[in-house]
Amino acid sequence: MISTALTDLWYGFGVALEPHNIMWCFVGVLVGNMVGVLPGMGPLATISILLPLTFGMKPVGAILMLGGVMYGAQYGGAICSILLNLPCHPPHAVTCLDGFPMTKQGRGGVALGLTVFASFVGASWGITEMIFLSPLLVRAALQFGPAEVCSLMLLGLLAGSTLARGSPVKGVAMTVLGLFLGSVGTDLETGSERYTFGMTELDDGIELIALALGLFGIAEFMSSVNQVAPINTKYTHVSLKDMRPTKADMKRAFFPMWRGTIIGSLCSLIPGTGPTIASFVAYATEKKISKHPEKFGTGLIEGVVCPEASTHSSVQGDFIPTMSLGIPGDAVMALLLGALMIQGIVPGPQLISQHPDIFWGLVASFWIGNIMLVLLNVPLISIWVKMLAIPYKFLYPSAMFFVCIGVYAANNDFFQVGEVAVIGLFGYVLLRLGYHPAPILLGFVLGPRFEENFRRAMLIARGDITVFVQRPISAVFVALCVLLIGSQIYFRLKGSKADLEPADENAGLDGRPAGAELAAQQLPATPAE
């Protein structure tokens, strides 16, 4: 088994090292890194904006580039957290706690250097996990009938919506809304039109890009405009020399780094627990087992490397269910899956065998991309830091243009541009009402496949709804769903959901400095009590 995996990996390197693929990978990590540093631009907005650029590309190049954007943005987010105390991206909110104090002590360079190293270790572990676990999962998943696929999707949807930020009930409501939005357009089986209200443009359904850009682009701009504080660039002078950690630092960071990696990979195995939860759990654990927990928050290197390693390990691990089962764990993964679907590739367990170039090329490009990021980050950090000075008032109008032209280019149709404006307004209303729109995307991407499999399962079972608990594998998934909901209710009644809900609402993609302070106030209560 190991030898086949290694042969496949070798083949993957062959794909990823083709000149155009390596170029797209490089473009992806570079742009992701760059945009990840910018406050107020999360990876979701970045990937949706870049999605239209990939239409003309081959599927392998497209997914390599979008994947690169995603983990590139993770590296960039850490820079923003450590040097500016701005959690541009929720997983890095916790890095601010010890990263920024280190910067104030003049050790920001060391923190950055070790973060890059820890991220690389975390990511490498996640990729290794992906190489060996995905084929196993696929072998199991190929035995699944429609009923199993259906209950597995249900589990994925429930986990993705209840374990994410904010109230679980609201999360589920957003998922249901997403499932509904996925059903707009021509019904695949009967050919009748649903919820199109006579608009022929809606026959093909709501455009994924319009939905993503409306919810994560326009709605975010509306909530951030005139709210972004000017950035304090007092501490942002970092030279290459500062980044070299001392031997003592390396020694102190070594074990926390590995602990973070393991925690991240465990978190990625539980569906729905993305990098945000992984990084908070890692920080809390590190604080708990530390000999001097009271010093956390004053600039301990352990408090920086552990969550960062955990974030990266979990980000790579999240690709496992996405690529091998076709079930994304969070909105970013849903978007990547959507990008594959736009390219005409059907996600699911058959993906690895039908399109080995995509899967193994992606895995290999992760290694290449991560090495590129380490090499890029070290010399370019001073340039990234200068990018932080770009004011938001220049950033969002330019992004608006990318939104408009990107949505237009999807179908060369102005109707979708109107669609994005309407969705953006709706998304902002949802944001103001305390909803997080990310699960909408999850439901939207899975919706049509969920309906298809549900119908098929019902047809095979002759309309017997108990089929979902009669078939053993499906029953396990349903039991897990019940367990998930039950535990949510239990923790809610006990009133201690704090350790699962660490990412404060304000620590979101909007990069308001308030987020870091709030998270800082919240965190002392975070370790499992």
Binding site: L53, L177, G434
Partner: protein, 167 residues
């Protein structure tokens, strides 16, 4: 003070009440429209089956969310309950939403370059610190860059300048 009015006032302040209410409305809309499609049987589901079911679930969830608004606020929930943010940015919101509309209008009748320019110009006006000069400079720079990227490099089929009369 009558208890009923204070309860009502509490309700009106609570964001969750509106949040739940919105979901109930959307759910009702989905379910009512969905029931006009053929539902079919469990074995042979029609196009209306799943959407209607989703609509009903959404109504129930909405009721659940609104019900949490009735619970007395705990000590920890000092979260802002107002729906509008502290400093509403009506002008900026208007500008951001007008930006795609301008893009559609100018794109349809005048081509990509005017569409791009107007889209950025309107959006940039939303910022408090925007001056006409800075906005014009920003719009011009991004227009040149954007048209170059999308028209020449990515070959988006949209004329750079055109004139379609008969507005």
């Amino acid at each position: 003070m009558q208890p009923s009015t204070s309860l009502l006032r509490d309700l009106v302040r609570k964001r969750d009440f509106y949040a739940g209410g919105l979901m109930v409305l959307i759910g009702l809309g989905i379910a009512l429209k969905g029931s006009s499609y053929r539902a079919g049987t469990l074995m042979h589901m029609g196009p209306g089956f799943l959407p209607t079911a989703l609509g009903i679930i959404l109504v129930l969830l909405g009721i659940g969310i609104a019900a949490t608004a009735l619970a007395p606020a705990g000590p920890g929930s000092d979260e802002s309950q107002s729906i509008l943010p502290e400093h509403p940015q009506w002008w900026a919101w208007f500008c951001i939403l007008m930006s795609p509309i301008c893009f559609i209008f100018f794109g349809r009748y005048f081509g990509m370059a005017p569409a791009t320019f107007s889209c950025i110009f309107i959006a940039a006006l939303g910022d408090k610190g925007a001056t006409v000069k800075s906005t014009v400079i920003l719009s011009t720079v991004v227009t040149i860059f954007g048209v170059g990227l999308f028209s020449y490099f990515l070959q988006v089929p949209m004329p750079i300048f055109t004139w379609r009369g008969g507005l």
